[in-house]
């Protein structure tokens, strides 16, 4: 009985050590390696990948549509597409570029399906209500920035959010959005100019 309990404990300790070591290994892995492992059936690799990219991708959607319910649908849909396309992934481009291209295309499809009367709803955006505990000036500036981003044309907003949220280079943004590098730069300039003006006002 004692020997059996000892064996079980030993196995438990070994298992825990293995889990810790495996998690550390996963943390060290690049996105590309993790995606390849997931494509081969390692579900833990996806957990790590998801933990890395969940928040930026969610903000990319919610700042685009300004509606949490729509953003949730778009976010879930984009991840479903990523899961389905796991076996088609080839690590020629960075995983982030591949992932945001899927997200961008999903968003474009959403805009195409959207009826003309379905406009953006800034009122439903969480955080638009002023928080009394925050600094009034900062809060006002944030609201202006948020409203300014929402007011941008779709292409400029998309390009700006990809720049601010994901930190992708211009070439990578061009790859995601399917346009040239100069077009990306032009869109960014217009967006920055508009936001600077709206913040000063």
């Amino acid at each position: 009985m004692y020997a059996q309990t000892t064996t079980l404990n030993f196995r438990g300790i070994l298992g825990a050590l293995f889990q810790i070591g495996y998690a550390a290994l996963m943390r060290e892995m690049t996105d590309e390696k993790l995606m390849q492992r997931y494509a081969k059936g390692d579900a833990k690799a996806f957990d790590q990948l998801y933990a890395r990219h969940r928040a930026p991708l969610y903000r990319y959607f919610i700042r685009q549509v300004n509606n949490p319910a729509t953003a949730n649908d778009l976010y879930q849909g984009a991840w479903e597409k990523i899961i389905k396309a796991r076996e088609k992934y080839r690590p020629r481009a960075p995983f982030k570029v591949w992932m945001y291209r899927i997200a961008h295309n999903h968003l474009v499809d959403h805009y195409r399906r959207m009826r003309p009367e379905d406009t953006l709803e800034p009122d439903t955006l969480p955080g638009t209500q002023a928080d009394p505990s925050q600094d009034m000036i900062a809060s006002e500036q944030n609201d202006r920035l948020r409203a300014g981003i929402t007011a941008l044309p779709m292409e400029q907003r998309d390009t700006l959010l990809l720049q601010l949220e994901t930190g992708l280079k211009m070439e990578e943004i061009a790859n995601v959005t399917g346009v040239g590098r100069e077009t990306v730069k032009s869109r960014l300039r217009y967006a920055v100019k508009y936001l600077k003006r709206s913040l000063v006002e």
């Binding site: 997931y38 059936g41 928040a55 479903e80 796991r86 969480p126 730069k185 032009s186 913040l199």
Partner: protein, 276 residues
């Protein structure tokens, strides 16, 4: 759009503006997806890579195999039903043929035991051929070898035309059969028919009769069996008559023959002359 010059200085100013904007953007609230949504996505991702059991990976193959086995079994059943004909009396063809062979073998053994009776039969067979010309063709009996039947009956008219004695040929065939070892493996009746029928002289009438006799042999096994029983009774009577003649003539061998007869047919009623 072209009012923004594309040179390194402007690129630098754009980078500076983006850095400042990034700082302001970082001050915004950091929204995160709901936990339920996280859980749903992770579950979906895990389900997508869960390995199915081996037999489920080829579900379509499993179904196809089952269907193929089912169709094969059905076709086998129907094919077997078509191959084995069932007659009105419920006796299958193969079984009746086996019964005929057994009875034919028993008849030969009896003939050997009562070898002397063959002489009597020879005398009867030596009668003029007029007795046989009107005889209709009938199915072979189980105690008659089929080769003899096919050969004899088909060759009757031909023999008459030749003016030879048909029965003498028949007896020759029988004698040949007796000479053979009956315990040895004999060829199937059908094979013997083919071999023996080749030796029958070619005559149009003989061919027709041969075909008719073969057809009747195959189609009416029950009728053949009934005729066999009648013929067996006639032979028993003939045996009894022979024993009685031997007794009348004072031949002491009649006792031996009678003992053999009783051994062969223990239930057959004996005439008064022999029972005393």
């Amino acid at each position: 759009m072209s009012n923004i010059p594309n040179n390194g200085e402007n690129d630098q100013s754009l980078r500076d503006d983006l850095d400042k904007l990034g700082e302001a953007y970082g001050q915004l609230q950091h929204e995160e997806p709901p936990e339920l949504l996280d859980q749903a996505i992770l579950n979906s991702a895990h389900r997508a890579v869960v390995k199915k059991p081996g037999w489920m990976q080829f579900g379509w193959l499993h179904g196809l195999t089952t269907a193929a086995v089912f169709v094969l079994a059905l076709s086998l059943i129907f094919n077997q039903r078509e191959q084995v004909p069932v007659y009105e009396d419920g006796i299958r063809f193969d079984d009746s043929m086996g019964l005929q062979r057994e009875k034919a073998a028993g008849k030969r053994s009896r003939d050997i035991k009562t070898g002397e009776l063959q002489m009597e039969l020879k005398e009867e067979n030596a009668k003029p051929l007029d007795n046989y010309q009107g005889t209709p063709v009938s199915a072979p009996t189980p105690d008659e070898p089929m080769e003899a039947v096919a050969g004899d009956r088909a060759s009757e008219p031909a023999a008459a035309a030749r003016g030879s004695t048909y029965k003498s040929e028949q007896l020759q065939v029988r004698a040949d059969n007796e000479d053979r070892d009956i315990t040895a493996d004999e060829p199937a009746v059908e094979e013997v028919i083919v071999v023996e029928a080749d030796s029958i002289p070619d005559a149009p009438v003989a061919k027709d009769l041969r075909k008719q006799s073969q057809a009747s042999a195959i189609v009416f096994p029950a009728a053949a069996e009934a005729e066999t029983t009648a013929e067996t009774d006639d032979e028993i009577e003939q045996q009894l008559l022979a024993i009685m003649k031997m007794k009348e003539s004072g031949d002491e061998a009649w006792l031996t023959e009678l003992a053999l007869f009783k051994q062969e047919y223990p239930d057959y009623p004996l005439p008064d002359e022999l029972s005393n």
